[in-house]
Amino acid sequence: MTAASVINRRSFLVASLAGGAALTFEASLAIAATPAASDPVALGVYIRIAADNTVNISSRNPEIGQGIKTMLPMLIAEELDVAWDQVRITQADGDAKRYGFQIAGGSTATPTQWLPMRQAGAAARAMLVAAAAKQWSVDAATLTTDAGSVIHKASGRTVTYAALAAVAATVPAVDLAKVPLKDPATFRIIGKSVRGVDTPAIVRGTPLFGIDTMLPGMLHAALVKCPVIGGTLASFDDAAVRKIPGILAVVPISSGQVPAGKHDALAIVGQSWWTASKAREKLVAKWDTAEQTGFSTAGYAKQAAALLAAAPQADLFKAGNADAALAKAAKVVTADYSYPFLAHATLEPQNCTAQWSADGKIEFWAPTQAPEWGRKEVATMLGIAPEAITIHMTRIGGGFGRRLMNDYMVLAGQVAKAMPGRPIKLVFDRTDDLRNDYYRPAGWHRMTAGLDEKGALVALKDHFVTFAAGGKPVRAAEMNSTEFPGPVVPDTHFGQSFLATNLTTGWLRAPTSNAMAFVFQGFLDEVAEAAGIDLPELMRRTLGVPRELKPEEGDPPFHTGRARAVIDAVCKFAAWTGKPSSTPGKGRGFGFYFSHRGYFAEIVDVTVTDGAVKVDKVWIAGDIGSQVINPLNAEHQMQGAAIDGLAQALVWQPVVQEAGAVMAENFGDFPLLRLDAVPGDVAITWVKTDFPPTGLGEPTLPPVIPATANAIRAATGKRLRSLPLTLA
């Protein structure tokens, strides 16, 4: 395979913004020009070299457990040519002007930062080399570097980066785009297993997370939210609450989900969160929810069934004439698939600390996956300039996409403004968290496929019922028009029909893919069965010759050869035969999915006993390009993602809504996966290709869901088409 850029337009924009750091890189040199002798010297925005030759590296992206706080500095350290034990890491603030756009989302950090981080390290190294060349009056080309020192072999001279840093900071800045990078064959840090930089602090219980924020004079706020999303505050009586010792105020606030000027929440502010939380029992609040009470889980299901029975309201993709092709097909397969609303249930509940100061500025300590989006929302809600907002990014106790939304910043900002000068920490309790999520939207699909007499897939239809507002799918409720195998089937029709909801929706790890993989790979398993072959073989035939399929505008292309290679790899890895197990109750299923630039094929082994499904083992083959940056963490992310997918397949229960309100209360009715549901092993193999490295935290997840459904079919003969997979 040839190397090809799979950076899409959005990524390019991100990369360009990060390139903005190049400008700042030069600007910061002026500041660094006159340091005190003992102060660390900055070489660009990410690197500071201390007098003891330790190197402090700022990690630019939010850390949600994906290991980015460790991985991005690895890229810098590699090209800076320092030893990993010289490196100290600092979490950067949320500051797009300094660092470019910062986000933990879309598995984008690797594809967008692979070059900029290495270039930042290489540029600083080049400046240190130039400083040594100047000092020794030798040609820079005769100098090498190693473990934080510049070496002149010919004369046997060596000088530490620390001794050179002050001079290096004054040499002309290097063009980041032209700075030479290492040959990957010489990498000493990239590709080596490195433990998480915060692991020692985590096991000591050191304050790291947003909820751990402690500031002098800090007050605590508990949330009283309208029980129905979209409903507004009609009136409230806080007389009884304000009599409670330790309670200071009750503040009407808005999540940003209701029209400007309206409130949908109250914050009880006190000396203790526990006291404030308990005081909620005494607060009387009346809510206006008339516009939302018609929405319910049962109502959606009824409406979806009616919509599926009629023609789609809108076309998403059309090629040839699917109906005509189905009419002459030798075999037609049809099935309905569906999946429910889900919450994110990060273990650290949503929280945020904020302090409003007398000069109209506000400072945040926020566990946010997208600080700049938070800045924008806070600026709008508080009517202040974005520049008046300072954002410190804390470690995050689970993201999964929930913290791409910044309602907790918006809410905490208003409470802080009402309590000027005092830091306030707003903490959701578990029920607040489950009932005020940005849910993975439910969806329904009527799938139809036509096979010719040779068993080839010649016609495909999907009628997708999803949630929309103003004729457009709501956040994370969309489907890609190029969903495989649509574009390679001669006659295809993807149509859509729309439902309304009051629920706020959002991205859940591998958004849309976590649902579409189940629907399409589950259904294709049925098609393969009708064709008398197994799913890997149907995929091989359908993928055809290695080529890039045209994506939707702005998306990376889908390479059929890379897909084929991981399918073959996992089949070999797991010794897949496609034949049923000779042991009753045992079954094997396969699933493939391409998302977030990553190609993943997975096999799941299950044992079904009295209707209970136990996953014995998961096998994964993945292609994320030429380089796995931190193998120790990559293995961990993939095992976690696969088990997270099993949770969606088998454990998590639908988020149920009655009369507009979400009913989920705690982990009793929204159960998370526990040790008893963990497979014996999640085994991993790689397919290395010449493509630039990409992410894996998300693309590992989707295939395990259909692979589990397909394994249950193999084990029991039962085809489960609705999540969670439940044997009656």
Partner: protein, 155 residues
């Protein structure tokens, strides 16, 4: 009411509502925030501490019940010989992802290995099933427990 208890080998006096959960006394009154709030209902295990050597959910333990007792939290668990082995194994195998549940996991694992120095799979399940890890670091959690116990990998 005033409650006297020992936290991490230090005698402490706390003035608090007798109903206030030990979790919130640790976090708010004693600034020991290593013990985590996850569900407030004893369902997730993030708030697990040792109370007189027994793993308890501190969100379900009123401070009045801790009066006169010994509390060990994540901040000092490594002072116990078993706790030290658990913490070391956690670091060596790099168990955390987000890390939020890990204090509770470590406290439960310490209690498990104190009672059952060589746990079998069923012992590990019984001792650890109450602790949720949303990132699903369970494979490494089990491995770290076996490592701390000086046991090899199962066949």
């Amino acid at each position: 009411m005033a409650v006297a208890l020992t936290v991490n080998r230090k005698k402490r006096m706390v003035e608090a509502d007798p109903e206030k959960p030990l979790l919130w006394v640790l976090r708010e009154d004693l600034s020991l925030v290593g013990t985590k709030f996850g569900c407030g209902a004893g369902l997730c295990g993030a708030c697990t501490v040792l109370l007189d050597g027994v793993a308890v959910r501190s969100c379900q333990t009123p401070i009045s019940e801790a009066a006169g007792k010994q509390v060990v939290t994540i901040e000092d668990v490594a002072s116990l010989p078993v706790g030290k082995k658990v913490v070391d194994a956690w670091v060596e195998l790099d168990v955390p992802q987000c890390g939020y549940c890990q204090a509770g996991q470590i406290m439960s694992a310490t209690a498990l290995l104190t009672d059952t120095p060589k746990p079998g799979p069923d012992d590990i399940l019984a001792g650890m099933n109450g602790n949720i890890c949303r990132c699903a670091t369970y494979l490494r959690i089990q491995k770290a427990i076996r490592k701390a116990a000086g046991m090899g990998e199962p066949a």
